[in-house]
């Protein structure tokens, strides 16, 4: 049923999750209205000095914008600064040059508008799964009503029966799903995923991709996904952004016109998918010996 929705035309507030929603039910926005621009990255650069005093330019002149509700995949070679870019959007790392804003406000530090999922689940091992997911609410002193989200999120990702389990009792895929719930519990406008499935085996990874699509179709947050996997990037994204080796800059920004919900069986044989995969691979291997 979620597949009936054309993306970018739904407001985030129409989430099927029990998030507090303004009374706008049934009010469908005009389909061709230009979607609200949520993240603006203008000519952003990052340089840092290593411990031995060398100056390194990690990012140089990165420039793109992200619309509200878009799913953006970012691929690039190792060390191209794509994780640094996410950390800057998350407010964990300062911009060296250029301008970066989320929802019209310049990023000056971490914000509750942004949820982050790291490469490792980083669940706190002394807390149960439920306590881990509740952590962002506890830290932000959110009112009690928000806490009902915790169990809704848990059942959405199939972790309901494991709410009282400890992280060490969960598999890697389940831990990462819990980490995604934790990032979503404040209902952030933007969800940043920093190679979240990189440590999983291939089959679990595919299942997580399907799951991630389901979560996003339910929730319609704006998502930025950094990944090494070209297939993951194209399978999940509305747009794929390819970055150059260090200093990282955007060398390609392509829209992915594949219908949702996507499934691996049909998508991986779709000519548009194959075309795009080949193009992105060419871009990434350009200049190497392969």
């Amino acid at each position: 049923m979620t597949g009936m929705r054309a993306h970018n035309t739904r407001l985030r507030e129409e989430s099927v999750l029990p998030f507090p929603t303004p009374a706008i039910n049934g009010d469908t926005p005009v389909a061709n209205e230009r979607a609200h621009q949520l993240i603006a990255i203008e000519n952003v650069g990052k340089t840092y000095t290593t411990t031995i005093g060398a100056r390194i330019t990690a990012l140089d002149g990165v420039d793109f914008t992200v619309s509200d509700g878009e799913f953006i995949s970012i691929v690039g070679p190792s060390g191209c600064g794509k994780s640094t870019l996410l950390r800057m959007i998350a407010g964990l790392s300062a911009v060296s040059s250029g301008r970066l804003s989320v929802d019209g406000k310049p990023v000056t530090g971490p914000s509750s508008d942004v949820g982050v999922v790291f490469q490792h689940p980083t669940l706190l091992p002394w807390m149960t799964v439920r306590e881990n997911i509740r952590l962002p609410l506890r830290v932000g002193h959110y009112p009690q009503v928000h806490h009902s989200r915790v169990d809704a999120l848990l059942s959405m990702v199939g972790l309901g029966p494991f709410a009282n389990a400890y992280p060490y009792e969960l598999s890697g895929g389940m831990q990462q799903r819990a980490a995604i719930c934790r990032a979503l519990v404040r209902n952030p406008k933007v969800l940043l995923l920093d190679e979240p499935f990189g440590a999983l085996d291939a089959l679990t990874r595919e299942r997580m991709n399907i799951e991630m699509q389901k979560i996003w179709l339910n929730n319609r947050n704006t998502v930025l996904l950094v990944t090494h996997s070209i297939s993951e990037a194209i399978f999940l994204g509305d747009r794929v952004i390819v970055m150059s080796p260090r200093p990282g800059r955007v060398i390609c920004d392509r829209r992915i016109e594949l219908e949702r919900p996507r499934n691996f069986k049909d998508t991986v044989v779709d000519p548009r998918y194959l075309r795009l995969t080949a193009d992105v691979r060419d871009l990434l291997t350009e200049g190497t010996n392969e």
């Binding site: 964990l92 971490p110 942004v114 706190l124 091992p125 002394w126 952590l135 830290v139 932000g140 060490y168």
Partner: protein, 286 residues
């Protein structure tokens, strides 16, 4: 914990419990074998001890036979707790002071260790002096403590606290500094305050280190109290040892040493038990 596994979406994702009971049985067998060896070693040692004392006519004041030691031990233990001939009054006094010193030393150690880990200027200004203090043998400081605190309980508490403080401070410091950077990033991304990060993430992350310190310190506290008692006190296990030594009652000394060893083991076990209950996650994650 009974946990129903009904994750329909990814049955293969569920952590398997298969084979766990087999592993458990094997572990129990190994454990029984280990205990058997320990008991066997003890019997061999005691027999050799008893026989050599008899054969070589070693006088009691050098090395009493195990039988004599057990007799004294029994005489000291099988009495009413209020009997001054028994071990209990002395033991209670020593343990009380050691415990008071332990609590004080542990508290100060955790507080100062935390402050040093959290604030670089405090680390820079305090660290060298605490290490200088630590490199002094505590026994050498004991006479000074006696001058300051007298021959009463104060000296024993102070010595126990002094002995406990340093390992607690160092372990707390090291544990907090060893907090995984990802966990701190997580708290930063959530806009957590410094105090929240310390309380919610750093202290639990440091818990395995802190428990290692607690375990070490429990015996140090006992040692501290004993040192103070050796240098002059009215009561306590140390005093009983000195009195037995004065009348060449070597069997009496041995008996008290056995009691002390048993107390030490029990204290270790207790801390270990609390540790396993509180940080059950530590061994199984990572």
């Amino acid at each position: 914990m009974s946990m129903k596994i009904e994750d329909t979406w990814t049955p293969a994702d569920v952590t398997s419990d298969l084979g766990d009971s087999d592993v458990h049985e094997g572990a129990t067998r190994v454990r029984i074998k280990q205990i058997g060896l320990v008991v066997f070693g003890g019997i061999v040692l005691l027999t050799a001890w008893q026989l050599s004392v008899a054969w070589f006519h070693i006088p009691d004041y050098i090395l009493p036979a195990p039988k004599k030691v057990l007799d004294v031990l029994w005489a000291g233990l099988a009495v009413s707790p209020s009997n001054p001939q028994g071990f209990y009054i002395a033991l209670a006094s020593t343990l009380e002071n050691a415990a008071a010193g332990y609590v004080i030393g542990v508290s100060f150690g955790i507080v100062l260790g935390s402050l040093m880990a959290e604030f670089r200027p405090i680390e820079m200004s305090v660290m060298p002096y605490t290490f200088a203090l630590q490199s002094l043998p505590k026994v050498a400081i004991a006479p000074l403590i006696i001058i300051w605190c007298g021959f009463g309980d104060g000296s024993k508490v102070a010595m126990a606290a002094l002995m406990t403080f340093f390992p607690m401070m160092v372990n707390t410091f090291a544990g907090i500094r060893a907090t995984e950077p990802e966990r701190i990033d997580l708290m930063r991304a959530l806009s957590a305050s410094r105090l929240e990060t310390y309380r919610i993430v750093k202290i639990p992350s440091a818990a395995p280190y802190i428990f290692a310190g607690l375990n070490m310190s429990v015996v140090y506290a006992l040692l501290g109290a004993l040192i103070a008692e050796f240098l002059g006190a009215q009561q306590g296990v140390g005093v009983v040892i000195l009195q037995a030594q004065a009348i060449s009652d070597t069997a009496g000394v041995f008996a008290i040493l056995i009691v002390l060893a048993a107390v030490g083991v029990v204290l270790h076990w207790s801390v270990g038990y609390v540790e396993r209950r509180i940080i059950h996650w530590a061994k199984r994650s990572n």
